[in-house]
Symmetry: C2
Subunit: 261 residues, 2 copies
DNA sequence: CTGGAGCCTGACCTAAGGTCAAGGTCAACC
DNA sequence: GGTTGACCTTGACCTTAGGTCAGGCTCCAG
């Protein structure tokens, strides 16, 4: 026994594992100390100092490849680099705090996916007596809209808000949602389609497709994807939608046609 | 074009790269969506939802291997798990903040290595007119002491504080530090050694080796390592120390002997 | 019909270590 | 004075969360 700490003692002092110390040696980040007679590494105070400095920088998120150069830099450069590291660290802390907030929203439903305004709308739907499954479907439609055509998202919300101010439309929508359990051939579906189409035609300007959407090359396809989302397993709804669209087209409204659903 | 978003669109919506999405598929964390006629993945709203949920959890530091199970758990378990994730995240944030503070200390000298009390002592040394290199050496001695025999560290500091209250001892110490530039054979070294030893013998109880150190099996070796630290390149200092120790031994004090330097 | 962007798979690379194996060394206890 | 258990050595491979590269298809716009 002579001449310095063993690797285990040095590692314990620096608060790292033995493997980490050896890793730092291999990367040339901390010079290998001298060996004793039996090949053990022996760490002197200068080695410990370097080790702790390296660990501190690495712990602050500095890539190991940079730590060596940083520690070898002159004090002025070192100080400037530390400022930089400090800034990046602060940034990362703020990022983590933001992620934690997002996480907390995730716990309250799927609000992580949508802005507050949309969440408020969904709450309002629930308050108007729409079932949880309808609200879920609407939420998915919102998510899809935001993903596919974000520029019309605000308009989409506005239109929905307007409709909810209209008790008659709310009533028709509820009936439409009930219709999903009907037989696709049920004659009430045609009746309902006529009523809904009439209501929609009553204030046509609300129905206008936004200019932004028109300008997109694949506007129709994207619109169709959103419009027909969720119809896969609800044939009655698909029929209701088709009938409403037919009514609107008959009245001269230009409704996009989705190619293959 | 039909039936859903491409992987690039889905990735952009979720705020991740395409490669990340594919990675999640391979780990089974997000199910593969259906493919279109030419083998492209097509993402529907449910897939987007799952993707964003997964990304949110992963971003919060949940290991990917756990994300799948977590998302598949029932709401009660999910909520409990989220609490856990939230707690771990908070922990990590606090850890990063602590690391940032340590980093800031590193900029002001090497204060990262020592507690405040020791730093204050080093400041006091500087204030008493000791040179920067002497202060550096003392700091290294402190680091070594804390690494090797942490249980005597506080006593070590107390002894040093006591000595600094004694102007005569301060004066002798300064001369001793000047001696490092003398020739090892300089007769003034013997003179100085006698004076220092006399001063030390004047209050012997301060010189007592702490009981804790005595109890350790390899106490002497560790003590020697600290005591003779830094002598390698200062032969005059080595000689001064040796002479002081000889004086003390002659007076009956039990000074440990380091085996091979 | 051609260029460029986007998609497919598969193989390999990265950082910052961790794990395992096979063997040498040290100190302490019986 | 032998044995036990902790500690050290090297080297090879594993891990996480993706990134990069290569070779080939597909899609869309001009």
């Amino acid at each position: 026994m002579a001449g310095g700490l063993t690797i285990g003692q040095a590692a314990a002092f620096a608060g790292v594992t033995i493997k980490t110390v050896r890793h730092y040696h291999r990367l040339g980040l901390v010079a290998e100390p001298e060996r004793d007679g039996s090949g053990y590494r022996r760490y002197r105070s200068a080695d410990l100092l370097r080790l702790v400095q390296a660990r501190t920088l690495a712990g602050a998120g500095v890539p190991l490849a940079e730590v060596g150069d940083l520690l070898d830099a002159d004090p002025v450069q070192f100080s400037a680099a530390l400022d930089d590291v400090d800034r990046r660290l602060t940034e990362r802390i703020e990022d983590l705090i933001a992620r934690r907030d997002t996480l907390r929203r995730l716990d309250q439903g799927d609000r992580a996916l949508l802005p507050d305004r949309a969440c408020a709308l969904l709450d309002r739907l629930a308050g108007l007596g729409f079932g949880a499954d309808y609200v879920d479907t609407q939420r998915e439609a919102m998510v899809l809209t935001r993903a596919l055509i974000p520029e019309i998202f605000d308009g989409f919300l506005s239109r929905l808000e307007g409709w909810l101010d209209d008790p008659e439309f709310v009533e028709l929508t509820k009936q439409g949602w009930d219709a999903r359990s009907w037989d696709p051939g049920d004659p009430r579906i045609e009746e309902l389609a006529a009523a809904v189409a009439g209501r929609l035609l009553a204030d046509l300007e609300r129905l206008e497709m936004p200019a932004e959407l028109r300008r997109r090359p694949d506007a129709d396809a994207r619109y169709g994807l959103i419009d027909h989302h969720g119809e896969d397993h609800e044939p009655a709804l698909a029929r209701l939608n088709a009938l409403i669209e037919a009514h609107l087209r008959a009245a001269g409204v230009d409704v996009p046609r989705a190619q293959h659903r």
